[in-house]
């Protein structure tokens, strides 16, 4: 039997199941905590840090923290709104993101968060990093300029025998996403499409097909990111 618990987010009374990740419990109560690396039912990566909230006075990532009875969570405070904006800005200066030319524009979580937090000019200097594009595999373009290292593809996309098709390479500022050429050659169209769909940005692109949905009719063109969660519970 799962135990029901009560907690608050910015004063709002919430209910959840003990042990459920805070970010999911919040969503079930109509509270949006932004995520880039998190996906429900997937082992959390805790890597993008944009879901950082304050729990009983301590800063925690909502995607790796289990909900507990009596937790007092601070989410949409000026402090965290600014931190989240800073993280979005940081990702924009770290990679090379040119939204107008990107196939994922309008379906991109990073871009949508940029709008949500009303990013204008990033406060940080651009890094202008050189990143290699990998187009050597049959189904996928790996557009590394846009990678935000969320590890979704690493965690989700496997071959038939459970081996990783994507993995990190290097560390720190030499970190890059790597694709296994041998195993990627065995990818089906469905897996390739899935890889593109779970990528929160425009790093993983399926070859030979593009702009099926025209810009203007895409996911975040009509509704801001997180509004589905917030609207479900009004």
């Amino acid at each position: 039997m799962s135990e029901t618990i009560k907690f608050t987010i910015d004063g709002k009374e919430c209910q959840g199941t003990k042990g459920q990740l805070l970010v999911d419990a919040a969503a079930d109560n109509g509270v949006y905590i932004p995520v880039l690396c998190h996906m429900r039912d997937l082992i959390p990566a805790g890597s993008c840090r944009i879901c950082t909230v304050k729990v009983n006075g301590r800063n925690m990532a909502a995607c790796t923290t289990p909900a507990e009875e009596g937790m007092a969570v601070e989410n949409n405070t000026p402090e965290f709104l600014d931190i989240r904006k800073a993280i979005v800005e940081m990702l924009f200066v770290e990679g090379n993101h040119f939204c107008p030319a990107c196939e994922k524009s309008g379906n991109c979580d990073l871009q949508a968060l940029g709008y949500k937090y009303q990013m204008m000019v990033p406060r940080f200097p651009y890094a202008f990093e050189r990143r290699e594009i990998d187009a050597t595999t049959p189904k996928i373009f790996l557009e590394r300029n846009r990678c935000i290292f969320c590890k979704r593809c690493v965690r989700v996309i496997k071959d038939e025998e459970g081996r990783n098709i994507f993995a990190f390479k290097g560390r720190g500022n030499t970190l890059e996403i790597n694709i296994d050429r041998k195993l990627a050659a065995t990818m089906t169209d469905e897996i390739a499409q899935k890889a593109m769909d779970i990528c929160p940005v425009g790093c993983i692109l399926k070859k030979e097909i593009g702009f099926v949905n025209p810009i203007g009719q895409r996911k975040y063109d009509t509704m801001p990111i997180g509004s589905d969660i917030e609207n479900n519970h009004q």
Binding site: M90, F149, N164
Partner: protein
């Protein structure tokens, strides 16, 4: 090559969890890990090639190109630079005819930089094919390179042997212990077996209670109560593990190196007591790659302890089974973080884990695990021997016992000191013969840069906590350029990169301090650095990111005038430097540029 690689993989049980060891063997055997080797490993271990590469590419001492028959890894951390690294580098480059970061066309000599190698009391120091060379100067470098050209083996280049166990035939190292002050707990006379024998006469609960009552707190720097950690772990069911953290990577610490040299038996005895306390049968000593020169000696100590029945089955006839293996690291500071150390021990990238669960719940191979520092385990032995109240009487009310300090930098007597907690910085400086001190870097780069007006503060967990690194910095040093920039480069290199803020902010902050050092800074830059440091501290996953902005934030707080003197009071100043940008092309064409302001 193929057969050899296959046999290495088989020797490690064709086990993916031993990927670190497989890669280390291959690297040692061939001087690099080839694409072919990666492919063979992937096939035999039944993982993808990118999985092999993700571990391979994480560690500093794994390479995919041959490093050279003689691979020089020069320490470029702060104290090495302070003690004259620049001259040594210049001489190496002159003699070898190449720049650092490359190897000679014939593949004979490779020159590379590396982070602190745990020799701060005898800098400048370098590793050459894993052998330590200390107190380098131009003359020594000339001899070394001449020996290389003559094809001499690296072991034979070691002319003068160090003191104590460093002279053991299995170690035969030029490293010096520099033990300057012994205390009652760690460096007092030690006889193998008293602590473990006493522990085995009581039950495991009593051992934990004794450690709890002693108020021993973790000696790696974080100061978590050891007894409490053991208690949590012992309450979990199933197989348990003991890990000893000998990944002494904080620039400026070297006391664990001395303990592993002079108190190896004590370290292993402490691990065994830990194993008995929590109910583990297996222990792992995670030894940093820089200390590979000790491995043969340590293996020999383990064998000796097995022979004497201090390890193995039915230890001292008390029915307790415990053994220890050594896991070598491969060069990654972040592996000193306990969950990253566990990941690395499992053959993976040293990325810190998300918590919960904590290692005491789910650690090595997902089983309850205690991870303790080398010095912590040594302390446990003495606590078992002399009792909690004896131990507790030493030190301060909140910091029981003694602490080993690794003191280096601008002082007459760098080395290892065992002090009772509670000593003031002033007393410490007098002890080491330091004058005209600008600052003391307490607890290494991740600690604080302490101004003289605070030198009356006490070295204690409740005032100035430290894992032991104490770097004395004289008045004549350029604090921002020599110290802060060096530290930030270190953190930018050593961030595992898996969380956004640590990966990105350390680069951003590194560039920001460089902008100021280069004279392009403005007042706003200083405010920005403070604000950005705060975001990094609040959002990052592990201790590395939570402390990596300290070189900047503590110097802005304590030495604001140094920043103010360097920045301009204008709204905007580009960090673009025309002269610097065209320097390489000017050199190439043999001209100089004229820039009009």
């Amino acid at each position: 090559m193929k057969e050899k690689i296959i046999s290495i993989i088989k020797a490690h049980g064709t086990d993916t969890a031993r990927l670190m060891d497989i890669l280390l063997r291959v690297q040692a055997e061939f001087g690099y890990v080839s694409t072919e080797a990666v492919s063979i490993m992937a096939t035999m271990l039944h993982i993808s090639e990118v999985d092999v590469v993700q571990t391979l590419s994480f560690y500093h001492f794994f390479t995919t190109d041959a490093v050279g028959k003689y691979a020089v890894y020069m320490n470029n951390s702060l104290v090495s630079c302070m003690m004259g690294m620049k001259e040594v580098v210049d001489e190496f480059e002159k003699q070898a005819g190449i720049k650092f970061g490359s190897k000679t066309p014939d593949g004979l000599i490779g020159l590379y930089y590396t982070a602190c190698i745990g020799m701060n009391d005898q800098e400048p120091a370098a590793l050459i094919n894993g052998i330590v060379f200390t107190e380098l100067n131009r003359e020594k470098v000339r001899n070394i390179v001449a020996d290389m050209k003559a094809g001499k083996s690296v072991n034979d280049m070691v002319a003068v042997i160090g003191d104590g166990i460093n002279a053991n035939p299995l170690m035969k190292s030029m490293v010096k212990n520099n033990i300057r002050k012994s205390g009652p707990v760690i460096l007092a006379d030690y006889t193998l077996g008293i602590g473990i024998a006493k522990a085995l006469t009581t039950d495991s609960k009593s051992v934990i209670k004794e450690v709890k009552d002693s108020n021993l707190r973790g000696r790696g720097g974080a100061g978590f109560p050891t007894g409490m950690k053991w208690d949590f772990c012992s309450r979990e069911t199933g197989v348990h593990y003991v890990l000893c953290n000998a990944d002494e990577g904080e620039p400026g610490t070297f006391k664990d190196r001395v303990l592993l040299t002079e108190r190896a038996y004590m370290v292993f005895e402490g691990m065994t007591i830990g194993g008995y306390a929590i109910g583990a049968a297996e222990g792992i000593l995670y030894l940093r790659n820089e200390y590979t020169y000790m491995k043969a000696y340590l293996e020999n100590v383990l064998n000796d302890m097995r022979t004497k029945n201090f390890l193995g089955n039915n230890i001292l006839g008390k029915g307790f089974n415990f053994d220890i293996r050594i896991q070598m690291g491969a060069g990654a500071y972040v592996c000193g973080e306990e969950s990253a150390l566990i990941e690395s021990s499992e053959g993976k990238r040293g990325e810190p884990r998300n918590r919960p669960p904590f290692p005491v719940q789910k650690g090595y191979k997902g089983k309850p695990t205690i991870v303790n520092n080398v010095e912590t385990f040594c302390s446990v032995v003495r606590i078992s021997e002399k009792g909690a109240s004896w131990y507790n009487a030493i030190g301060t009310s909140e910091s029981a016992g003694t602490k080993l300090l690794s003191i280096s930098g601008d002082c007459k007597l760098p080395g290892v000191y065992e002090i009772a907690w509670g000593m003031s910085i002033n007393e410490m400086l007098e002890m080491v013969g330091a004058e005209n001190v600008q600052t003391v870097q307490v607890a290494g780069p991740s600690g604080i840069c302490l101004p003289p007006k605070q030198f009356d503060r006490k070295i204690a967990l409740e005032d100035l906590p430290t894992g032991g690194s104490m770097i004395v910095i004289g008045q004549h040093r350029d604090l921002l350029k020599d110290v802060v920039l060096n530290f930030m480069e270190f953190f930018a290199d050593e961030s595992c990169g898996s969380c956004v803020t640590c990966r990105s902010f350390n680069m951003i902050l590194r560039n920001a301090i460089e902008k100021i050092v280069d004279g392009h800074g403005i007042k706003k830059d200083v405010e920005n650095m403070l604000a950005w440091s705060e975001i990094l501290r609040k959002t990052t996953r592990c201790g590395l990111g939570q402390t990596s902005s300290n070189p900047i934030s503590t110097t802005i707080k304590n030495f604001r005038e140094l920043y103010d003197a360097r920045v301009k009071d204008v709204d905007y100043q580009s960090d673009f430097d025309m002269q610097k940008s065209v320097l390489a092309s000017c050199e190439a064409v043999g001209r100089s540029s004229v820039v009009h302001e």
